[in-house]
Symmetry: D2
Subunit: 333 residues, 4 copies
């Protein structure tokens, strides 16, 4: 950690600060410049609160050299984390496809889609039961009933299920769910992160619409610091000024996160683009960029889907996509 | 609501869609162009799900002419909403200053600051007890104990208090709190919005870091649709590419929201800029732009504040600011 | 084009506006709603100035249904444009790699790199002679001398060359250059666009850091409306709040532009990411997403490159990349 | 300047780098941490190319402690720069209003507006003759003829004139113009910056739509390093995800730039918001935030303005605004 002092800092103020750092077990190296003095802090700075230091009158700027996330940091855990969900593995060279409808709508709908995507090679079934919607007047999901239907589809097909949890009070309902999804809008719902961190279920953590990779990793750290290391990161598009696509899928997040963390990374091109016509090319791009998995919306009747149908593939489109995905996986591995 | 059809739509497909709209009680006007047909929908379209319509194969684009928020919409409620908190009023020409520390730290700290800002003219006391922090290793607030201290300061000074709630399960602890704050990171925590919408307390709803004004109003609508119309909107900076300020304070949100909604609007320049040296000028600018209130961080010892001290004013700075605020209020009213 | 009128518009005002539209050869369809009247305009609206209409007191909003670009619009030119540069073709199924150093530095440097990337399969040689730099104190390129060296490398290897032009006055110097590059910062330097539109050379037009796809196409339209239809679009990253990568490469621009325009699309992952370690995965992702070409920085001594060395591949890395690119091309075609 | 070395750097590599820095006249201080070594560079680092250093294999990151702009830097020139245009002064406590139409349209139009805004207290007349437009099909200004009309209005009223230059080749036409405006889209047209830096006319430099304050100052530095120190900075809104306003006016740029530079700062709320109904409150906010000037679009017939009429004030609205501006100036000074 680097602390740049202001020009007019007195020697005594500086010495006080140095003593304060040293009292926290840090070593301090001093570089004196013409206009500024820079203190280099050595030791475990991950628990030093940047805000606190920057609040000091004599401090101009604080820069971290090592990151404040530890558990998620590849520097301290060089080996890839492999998350296991039943027999399915994600990360460390293992790749998985997660597919299913945006919302569970009926028994026949979810079962039909599950069987179809399973045949095409999807390893996990996704489906929304509790749905976060911008408008209180839009369809909010089938809730508990939707979870029941997902569990039936799981029993029928043997596919583990992934579904979003929006409220820690609902945890008992999610007993049979295999992977808990934290949605983009809840990425910094720290209370929810702590609650799912106390479970032993794999967590699929979506990047917020305006969050940096560092913040995504800090949110993973919230979950991991409660004892749950099974975190799967998910890039699903960030908000920019572009309006043709719903969001801008940041595929450079894949190799960038790969450098910073050992956690597996999946990509959701359906929500990112918001247009089914763009999903295939973005899915293939994600695989070429080294993603550990894909999360794809598939609907047997996208025309009549109760939400986000515009971005859903048909089972036939998904089957074709899955085939190309396998071929690209062969090229890059 | 305008629905643009794709070029190759057949007459039969078009007629089916028109019948479907009509079945929902809407009137449909048709404009036929060389390349496109446009359907204009007339009637109560606020409950029509845009996603659903856009999902249809024959639909190219959907544009709303009237907004999907009703309760918060000035069009349907032309009169300004005035939120009353004890004797304090915000909105409809009434202006209030909310001041206090980022975090409650001790009895003497919160009491001393409360008395000081009250003397300078602040009407409401703010102070964080439950603190959302990006890192799990940073100070998370004094929690329930902090709430106790806030309530003591309220009893001592008579100032109503504003503090953030992060979890609906904590509601019983907030019994004595006057205004519940929903933080920027929870602006789309819809479960929390619905929970506070079921209380009868005024809600201070902060705009998310990457949320549009329309989304802010949709989140207000979540609260209002549960029966609680006492919503105060708060602009606190949005995320951009600029790095010198922590966020970019969007002051045009004030006159823009004024056009769209009847709800009062307060501005938090402390969190937006993240630098105490920028707070005064941004506070005055907000008042000049017509804000109904200000939310300012004040700390009696900003150097040693446990969080966000870098953006806190001293009581003396706040006193000077409050004086200028009054003078600008006179000019613009 | 859709024109939404304000609620309190009188019938006479409305009729005046309708007559004004009709005088411009447009047909007007009227949809009357409870709160608004919507005029649907049919005919050639591409020459109607949106600003002008929105300026009218009675107009609330103007929305275009058809785009204001004509020459670049796939709707009016369904066939892919293929840009030919000597024997090299880009677009319509033809793919080309453009490689070379950020800056031309010396005869041996440019020649050595040219021969190396040619052997690896690059079809075009890139190299900066006139360099746009944020700081006036940074290296600005070898200018005319750099152009000379590029032309020598072209003569030696037979590779057509691509290099940036920053000033229309320099056009005579670019006589022997095969493709004129318009840099991101000049994407809306309309004077320069018009000047290169008067030449018959292929233009590689880079997307600006904060420009929409629509604006990119309008800039292409500037070039095309002067008579030069040989425009190659280039996605090179947009500016977001993320700081780990220099910019955020928007790969969804590839399939999105494919829908909107017939012009070829190449991707520059080197400038977008600013980190050589991210270039390969982003290049492969771009190819998987359907790009018509790649533009890659290659330097034989990236450690000592005079600019942007941090993002350059070595010739050996480029050779390995080129091999993977060919394999992915086989999968997707 | 701080250079962070990678973990696996050998002692010899490190010593080589230190020698290279020392050869450039810099002193190097070394801080050794557990995972990283940090080099602190002391001396004139403004001419060191960050990219070059970051390109080195052993370097993880480079951070500047002092800025790379010198001429524009308040640190080296603590006194405010006052730009004089005839008798008008901007900066150092002097405030000026610049008003006029977006485009010059006719002799009577420009003269009538000039006389009107002058009576209301505007010190400078603005008016576009060469207009940058996103679409090649939109009105591009009256060009040379427009300049003539501006000069006539200047002669008639004695008001100095401000107008945009888009092409260095046009400089001879701008002989009689008092202030040359560089538009937002040309903020990084470095060739144009250098050309106007060679004149002795005051330059009004608009911030680009996606440019940081640091980049704005680097562009000012381009002008100043050619010998022209009369630069006025102009905030005119940046691009964000918000769509209700055309851009997001960043008023915190005023106090932030005040800390970083001695150059005067004016604000253009007309282009930023794109809506005349938002202009007054944003103008007053800018003044309250300490702006040295305002740039306001005024049109005597905004309904029929040839461009951007939607954001123009009428002369009567401007008169009312000017009055409030004076009152706010009294409060804050």
């Amino acid at each position: 950690m680097i602390t740049v002092l202001k020009e007019n800092t007195t020697k005594q103020q500086r010495d006080n600060l140095i003593r304060w750092f040293e009292a926290q077990g840090l070593k301090v190296h001093i570089s004196e410049g013409e206009y500024q003095t820079v203190l280099g802090l050595v030791g475990d700075t991950s628990r030093v609160d940047d805000g606190l230091v920057e609040a000091l009158e004599i401090v101009e700027r604080v820069t971290r050299v090592t990151e404040s996330y530890k558990a998620a940091n590849r520097k301290f855990h060089p080996e890839d984390t492999v998350v296991s969900i039943g027999d399915v593995k994600i990360g460390g060279g293992s790749f998985a496809m997660i597919a299913g409808p945006c919302s569970v709508e009926s028994e026949s709908q979810i079962l039909e889609i599950a069987q179809s995507v399973q045949k095409s090679g999807a390893a996990l079934l996704r489906g929304g039961a509790f749905k976060p919607r911008t408008s209180p007047y839009d369809f909010q999901g089938m809730k508990a009933e939707g979870l029941e239907l997902l569990l039936e589809a799981k029993q029928e097909t043997g596919m583990p299920i992934v579904t979003e949890i929006m409220n820690a009070e609902h945890l008992p309902l999610f007993e049979g769910v295999d992977v808990l999804q934290i949605g983009a809008r809840n990425m910094q719902n720290f209370e929810l992160l702590k609650a799912v961190g106390k479970t032993n279920k794999p967590i699929l953590l979506k990047r917020g619409l305006a969050n940096t990779l560092k913040e995504l990793l800090m949110s993973a750290e919230y979950i991991m610091s409660e004892g749950n290391g099974n975190v799967i990161l998910c890039e699903r598009g960030i908000r920019t000024f572009e309006t043709y696509t719903r969001n801008t899928l940041d595929l450079s997040a894949i190799p960038a996160l790969r450098e910073k963390t050992h956690l597996p990374i999946v990509v959701d091109p359906s929500h990112a683009t918001g247009k089914s016509s763009l999903v295939e090319s973005m899915a293939l791009a994600a695989v070429a960029a080294g993603a550990d998995g894909l999360m794809i919306e598939v609907h047997n009747d996208p025309q009549n889907a109760l939400c986000d149908g515009a971005q859903s593939l048909t089972p036939a489109q998904f089957d074709k996509l899955a085939d190309k995905v396998r071929k690209i996986r062969e090229v890059i591995s």
